[in-house]
Symmetry: C3
Subunit: 460 residues, 3 copies
């Protein structure tokens, strides 16, 4: 079937409508947090702050910038591995993230930063907005190459909303700890995306198979994304942890887990190839699974060897997933998962939730110290009577809530996106930039590159 992919009015109107709505809602609701407000100079003295450095900005800003790079360059370039979909991978990721962070500031703000009728925004909100959009970038990986930018904006609108509700249930109702988002970001994002792509199943996608692979340079572009994700993941998992030791510990645990994950991903990639050769897909993706899987437990006393074990397992699970599970999902369950997010975010996300629940359940005052335990899990106030095992149970419940929200949400949003009015491409035109982009013609032959000898520059 051939659909109309001309977006001339649909895309501009969607963008402008959404952006006007953002301006109005920001005007009504969003103000600066006290630490970003010019009144802070008056507030800090009675607040007993000895120094400007006590501004939350200095605790979080370097991590924020690293997370920002992960969302825009990390996810954007990770998806450029497709030979003819680089513009769309980077460009649509840019577009959906730019909209998503605004909408996330509002949604998360209403749930978590709403005071006297205003959402008070500071650097932590910016990080959380990036996190929320991260889950949309994950889901984008499942539908990459098969949806129009209008569909992506609509998916972002709904997914950010559902993410925020799910996050509220987990963090505020279940009192779950999930600083690196194994459950809220990765599990939710992955299974949401997989459900959407299942609804959007394209029976004739084999017609685009020729473009659903890499060329040499596109794989190198993708490695830019992989490496920035890998390198900055310690910032991701520590960005919103408690000040001091918790941030410190989260960075160390993530560093360890990711390192271990690289070795087992390489080992499996080679072992599963008949000539022992490495597959770029595994290096680009499975090496990151360790970061996903310590998302929940990174700030806990997981211990460096615990982190190594988590990374060890996830490198294996993720690579096995690419080799055996993805083809099965596509052929039997009709889940066309372009980037293999089930292997990078789905399974490792669930593992991360389980690791977090177990680590929380095992927490005790010998390992954490009396004060440390209360501080790490907010055992105080109405949680005074909580035990570690109760915390662990609630952590486990968080996994199921996230999965349920993802599945139900994905069904509804997938249904909406299936309407044939959003400018999506036909099956034979998937994975092709030229559908939505003005693409330069390839130079016909090498003669169009004047070599040295043809330059009309006389020598002295």
């Amino acid at each position: 079937m051939a659909w109309n992919t001309n977006l001339r009015w649909r895309l501009p109107l969607t963008c402008l409508l959404l952006q006007v709505a953002m301006v109005v809602l920001f005007g009504v609701f969003v103000r600066y947090s006290p630490e970003a407000d010019a009144h802070w100079i008056e507030a800090k003295e009675p607040g007993n702050l000895s120094s400007d450095l006590e501004n939350e900005f200095y605790y979080r800003y370097p991590s924020f910038q690293d997370v920002h790079v992960m969302i825009f360059v990390g996810f954007g370039f990770l998806m450029t591995f497709l030979q003819r979909y680089g513009y769309s991978s980077v460009g649509f990721n840019f577009l959906l993230a730019a909209f998503g962070i605004q909408w996330a500031l509002l949604m998360q703000g209403w749930f978590h930063s709403f005071h006297n009728g205003y959402i008070l925004v500071g650097v932590e909100n910016l990080i959380n907005a990036d996190f929320c959009v991260g889950s949309v970038c994950v889901a984008f990986g499942a539908v990459l190459g098969k949806v129009s930018p209008v569909q992506l904006l609509i998916m972002t609108l709904f997914q950010v909303t559902l993410f925020s509700v799910n996050e509220f249930i987990l963090l505020s109702l279940l009192n779950v700890k999930d600083a690196g988002g194994s459950m809220t970001i990765h599990t939710f994002g992955a299974y949401f995306g997989l459900t959407v792509t299942w609804i959007l199943y394209r029976p004739n996608l084999y017609q685009s198979k020729g473009r659903q692979s890499a060329v040499y340079h596109s794989d190198l572009f993708a490695m830019i994304g992989t490496l920035f994700l890998w390198m900055y993941w310690p910032s991701f998992n520590s960005a919103v942890s408690n000040h001091g030791d918790a941030q410190h510990r989260a960075a160390i645990n993530t560093y360890c887990s990711l390192a271990a994950c690289v070795l087992t991903a390489v080992a499996l990639s080679s072992a599963l190839h008949k000539k022992g050769k490495l597959d770029m897909v595994h290096i680009q993706n499975a090496t990151l699974a360790g970061g996903v899987a310590v998302g929940t437990a990174a700030e806990m006393m997981l211990m460096p060897y615990g982190s190594l074990i988590v990374g060890f397992i996830c490198g294996i699970v993720s690579t096995l997933g690419f080799v055996y599970l993805s083809p099965f999902l596509e052929s039997r369950l009709r889940i066309q998962d372009t980037c293999g997010i089930h292997n990078l975010h789905g399974m490792p996300g669930v593992i991360g939730g389980i690791v977090g629940a177990v680590t929380a359940a095992c927490a005790n005052s010998q390992v954490y110290g009396q004060e440390g335990l209360a501080h790490a899990f907010d055992f105080g106030g109405f949680k005074t009577d909580w035990s570690s095992s109760l915390q662990g149970s609630f952590q486990a419940a968080g996994i199921f809530v996230s999965l349920a929200m993802a599945l139900v949400g994905g069904l509804i949003v997938g249904g909406i996106l299936k309407l044939p009015i959003w400018g999506q491409a036909s099956d034979e035109n998937c994975f092709e930039d030229a559908v939505y982009w003005e693409v330069p013609e390839e130079p016909k032959n090498a003669a169009s590159h004047p070599e040295d000898s043809t330059l009309k520059a006389p020598e002295p």
Copy 2:
């Protein structure tokens, strides 16, 4: 006309002369600021500093590194979109910036950090030197592909000088606030570069038209530049703001403005194409206009919705500029603006100056608090009697001074660069790396890549 593009003696001599001059001038003038001097350990106790963290280094260093990335990777790769000018885009940008930061340390140092015969250099000077070079990178965008590296070094020498004079007039004489440099960096840099390229008009440039466009991979390289500029712009606009809330606020405002700008740039790009397709040029450039336009006001109480509005407008203005104004400037005014800096830095820079003037003029003690207002605008000392509206007037004057300096300076420098002795290429050899670089030959055919089957490695 064919010119001599052999730089064998001109480029080495220029580089060595300039660098020797830098060594001598640094030897005579440059020393460490007290916070970078080994005496600091003695100084900090009477100075009542409770902690090593109070060293300015920790307030500014993360922002400095982000700004550094913007100058070298951001601007450098943004200009690699040309199909055969990648080496020069990245390489010449590298060269001019490396020289420019040294010269800027001296020029800005004489104006702002001169004490007892010495320029005292600290991390804030490094940031300001990068900022100054940023304005040269902007101007480079206008003449990209048409000038030799010798011309670029000479342009840098003069432009850094003029920048520093202009900056001194604005910041020290007019007491203007311009932390993100809408006026000093973008307005000045853009109109200076446009004037230079107007003087250097090349009537037969159409002969190089075939190379004045992108190929598929060059556009992806350019997106690396775009994204690092976009992501780190909050650091750019907050890097030299007051400690605490001002830095915090500047980051938030820039984040918001840039996000809004992406949506309107995409909307206009699609709306202005007859089939609704997106144009990479707009995505690479117009999405950044929001960062330029909050440069002045980012540290003020612009409010998040104010930032969104600024970004909203600039995404539209900038994209319209690329579609309608640039062709007009080239055909009617003979301004050949390779990268369209008028759309990305010129118009948004002026808008940024206006936004800053209006925001300053509207400032009051209700919004800022009594102390906050005085702190934000340095109302104190000889400025005790200043009102917000007076500040606003001086802000507005800063725009005109910057424009005047840019135009007059551009005319003079353009005249110097027009001399046919700097190794510039002829019109038909523009936008071509092979003029100044040893360029590898393209592989003649795919056979030069041995595929698996041709590898002489027997299997076991």
Copy 3:
């Protein structure tokens, strides 16, 4: 001779064995440093810490992330200049660094952070592990394209061990200052790598000559590596310096040295080409020599002009090395140095050691202040009677120790790697990804890219 390059069992087993060993050793030995441990909340009050910010994390973390980028993106992409070795450059660098940082945490931990039977790991350990791996990345540059990933893992295992011993001798026995690692990282890494490649001499390497060069896009990928190394080098040299002025000063000195280095590298590159053209190899490498050469002295009172002089000289020395010395080393001494690490790390590293020794020997209390001098060189405790000139002598001794360790270690490790069992490629298959990677076939012709006209999307 044709070797068996099938790694199916060798690579997976090596990876898994090493990783299991890491898990076990981490389990036995590695715990969190007090500042990353949940007990910190109890410890900080008696420790008189006024704020969470006093956690070492906030002093070092931004620098750590910059160093991390240098190791993985910097070194990884710097080596992608080869036309058909991009996967291996980035991928093997990723693999060896991921293993190396774990092993370095252990080795360096036993020497420097061993308390009551446990290695206590904090952010400074992460930085030092990255540093240690940096020296392996340097050595990798010499053997790039000629070794299998199994060989690289074995080289990493031994080199990290030797590095740690050498570092212990220098820092703990000789009391040498070497914060940026001119001696420990660059001199040791370079001469170790050169010795290994000398042992692994391949007489018929000319058979792979066609692939031992760049193509247009591979040079641009390499510039990503160059620029991230160049930009973040101030963080590298300041990352583990003393808090406060020393970190501040190290960043300034490195910034200055690198800037000067760019100009002289460009000057020499042009002057040494018969038509005055620039060579990408020089721009990619020689521009970095200034960062190597201020590694030791960056935190000392080298003065900004001193840094410029160091950079000035190293840009010249390094470029001359590429043009004259590397061909000589290859033809006469049979040292096949793929990336020219002798020019970028070897000579500049030795220069850096000398500059450090001289700067230390000249240190006096007039320049540093009484307290500052003692603080900068740890003159106190058992070093109470040390003079600056004694410090200088020990610094100089450090150079020779590093060279000796590198040569002896390189001979042994080279001998081990020469065994024909590690899956190395034959001489005619060097510099070729297809040996170890599943490489996508190149599209046969442009027809495989459907252009606009062929898209089956009807217009409305």
